[in-house]
Amino acid sequence: MPERPELVFARTDGGAVTDLEEYVARGGFVALAKARAMEPDAVIAELEASGLRGRGGAFFPTGRKWAFVPKPDRLAKPHYLVVNADESEPGTFKDREIMLRVPFRFLEGCLIGAHAIAAKHVFVYIRGEYEREFEVLRSALEQMHARGDLLGDVTIVLHRGAGAYICGEETALLESLEGKRGQPRTKPPFPAIAGLYAAPTAVNNVESITTVTVVFELGAEEYAKVGVEGSTGTRVFSLSGNVVRPGNYELPHGITLRELIYDVGGGVPNGRSLKAVIPGGSSTPVLTADDIDTPLDFDSLVRAGSSIGSAGVIVIDDRCCMVQLGIRVSQFYEHESCGKCTPCRVGTRWLTQILQKIEDGRADQSDLDLLLSVCDRILGTCLCPLGDSDAIAVASYVARFRDEFQEHVHLGRCPFEGASSLEGILAPSALHGAHGHEHEAVPA
């Protein structure tokens, strides 16, 4: 069994610490006091030294992100810290557990961040579907209000989303927070210069912010001893799919897929064999059973042809038809496309339809080429990575399971003959149309 250091979930005894007095008794808000005794530049330097990188999916160094925010004397506008709690990447459910179990460690990180970038306002954009998490944070904030010294002159606002995956993209999130449709912005300018209300803004993920507290609890040097070079510290892995013990597991970066799936997760149930693993949420390229010894850190996953993404690990056994998986993933991106960029709005729909044609046995060889061609034409052509995510995922299913796609075409039917674990997959029933935009025609 791999070592299981608990940093994000430290001193919770496996449960939740939702009472302020209890959190303080367990060493809470010592990190904040430490950070507030330091100059903002020193706080950022400490973070740089810790090697902490963003946990939302892009893995951008947190300290560097904060260093990009101009000092108030250089840009005399209000500065904002915005926390991305819009967790919606399929396969990912870690941020909600962090908010439920260590709300104060998370809010403490918000205050450290506010100090580092000289923000008087923190906005926590929490997805609308997370009702209980919102209530836990609201209660935690109320308790903190009763102790004025904690918040100081900082206001933390909990802002609820209303159901749109795209709002997890930082500029779409800012648009949404400004009371608009959540459509991504053109970059530059980047949020650090012109973010919320066109003012300097840092946008950070919940786990990143919570880990900021951890860095100041331990000190950067101690923190950096956990994990591996380039991917320091722990990661809260969300494990789901065909696995005996699904759930969130905090583990050091660099443990292998085998350790996570078999030692921690208990392996694949019902005597089935492992077929595929999506290692970092649905937007990341698929891996096969042959990749089982890949370490779960940024560099190793890049070398394996994938990405650590949001660390949402989806385990898929041998009953799954990869064409059906492609359809379901593509339906998701099609439904969540905001419609602003044509290649994404049209391309995601094309991918779904071509995959459906392959699944139904109506496709010929040219459809397989068309599928990959559409992927190519989406990639790199849009304002945000949503369309790319669909293209990257689908292209990886074809690349890694080419024979299975080929077999659909040759047989003129699905080789699983109705026995796939994803048989009968259902698209979301949009109650008022897909974001109100009309779809362009799709090739028959």
Binding site: R127, R160, G163, S421, L422, G436
Partner: protein
């Protein structure tokens, strides 16, 4: 106009440096007060309270899945059918709800009691299948659990 809704929206406005940021929370409040959806009157109330046009409110509301421009049932049953829930048999859970509620996914029952929907990832992949009932998540729901859930909802 309901005085309380207007007042509550004014409170929301005060939270933000720019009052326009209050649109989403204001629409959520209005929806709660109007039986789970946003009829034209509700959109107008929000627009008046925030000094924006009703069209602005429609443009915003139509973007978000949780804001509804058509009536919904008194109880809202939403089943996640994304990858991890699908691997756990979400399709069968949806079928069971369709059978027990007598309504197809995406529709509202004739008596207006239930709307059944299939939705994108609810962030509970490790506790599949996730079913949101009036936005409260039930975890590890199997098709065999559905009759009891529906009985409970009908009794409530």
């Amino acid at each position: 106009m309901s005085e309380t809704l207007h007042d509550r929206i004014q409170e929301l406005r005060a939270v933000y440096p720019d009052p326009r940021s209050a649109i989403l929370p204001a629409l959520r409040l209005a929806q709660e007060e109007h039986g789970g959806w946003l009829p034209p009157a509700a959109l107008r109330e929000v627009a008046d309270s925030l000094e924006v046009t009703p069209a602005t409110c429609v443009a915003v509301a139509s973007f978000y899945d949780q804001l509804r421009l058509e009536p919904v049932g008194r109880r809202l049953v939403e089943v996640c059918t994304n990858i991890s829930c699908a691997l756990a048999g979400a399709q069968q859970v949806v079928e069971a709800f369709e059978r027990e509620l007598g309504v197809e996914a995406g529709a509202t029952s004739a008596d207006g009691a239930f709307t059944l929907g299939t939705v994108e990832c609810l962030g509970g992949c490790g506790w599949a299948t996730v079913v949101a009932i009036d936005n409260r998540h039930r975890l590890r729901v199997t098709k065999d659990d559905v009759p009891a859930i529906v009985e409970e909802l009908r009794g409530a």
